[in-house]
């Protein structure tokens, strides 16, 4: 069974996709790593970014973490605050 997740985009990821959030087709039980792979397929331009982390519900997530459909998911390109 397949569904989708919504992913918030900031900074360069927003510029590269032209969107501040994208909906990604995504199997239930998939991991953060799976999501990154799917995003790279759907948006090949993301490969130009130096590193790409994922936050789940406002916390940095490891690539093994399993996603749930109501998680708040965000792509975190290299930060540059301060």
């Amino acid at each position: 069974m397949s569904s989708s997740v919504s992913v918030l985009l900031f900074g360069i990821t927003r510029d590269l996709t032209g969107q501040s959030a994208v909906s990604v087709p995504f199997p239930e039980g998939g991991s953060v790593g799976d999501l990154i792979d799917q995003l790279h397929l759907d948006y090949p331009a993301l490969a130009s970014i130096r590193s790409l982390l994922v936050a789940v519900n406002g916390e940095y997530a490891e690539s093994e973490q399993i996603l749930a459909q109501n998680d708040e998911i965000a792509l975190i390109p290299p930060v540059s605050g301060g």
Binding site: R50, A74, G81
Partner: protein, 136 residues
């Protein structure tokens, strides 16, 4: 006190907030928009934040600093939106009884903010723009 704001950062208000009768030392760090980056003229900066997570990551940094040093009061304020040359992008203020801790904590906090807090800075030049640190 931790905040992300679209308004100009008010240093006097931050100072008032930090003062307490036990404070003997206050260190303020201000990150300011300068007119060049690696000698290329900058027109302005645009800051974007994942507000919810930026606040919680800054809170983690403040909590860690609190564990390491005897901080009486602190304030961390980060600006977002469009900033012109000379405007304050970030203010960190640390009040302690003695000066060494105020310097150490302030420096720890700004160094760590730059590593972990989801805020992004775009440098806008006369002929182009760059998200800082984004590319290899």
């Amino acid at each position: 006190m931790i905040a992300i704001t679209s308004d100009p950062i008010d240093v006097s208000a931050a100072l008032t907030y930090l003062q307490s009768d036990q404070a003997g030392a206050i260190d303020f760090f201000l990150g300011v928009v300068r007119d060049n980056t690696q000698e290329r003229p900058v027109d302005r900066l645009e800051y974007e934040a994942y507000d919810r997570m930026a606040i919680s990551e800054m809170q983690k940094i403040a909590d860690e600093a609190h564990q390491r040093w005897p901080i009486l009061r602190y304030t961390i304020i980060h600006r977002k939106g469009t900033l012109q040359i000379g405007e304050i992008a970030v203010l960190i203020g640390i009040a302690t009884a003695h000066r060494a801790a105020s310097f150490d904590a302030c420096r720890y906090i700004i160094d760590t903010i730059k590593q972990t807090v989801p805020i992004w800075k775009k440098e806008v030049f006369a002929n182009g723009e760059t998200w800082v640190n984004a590319h290899p």
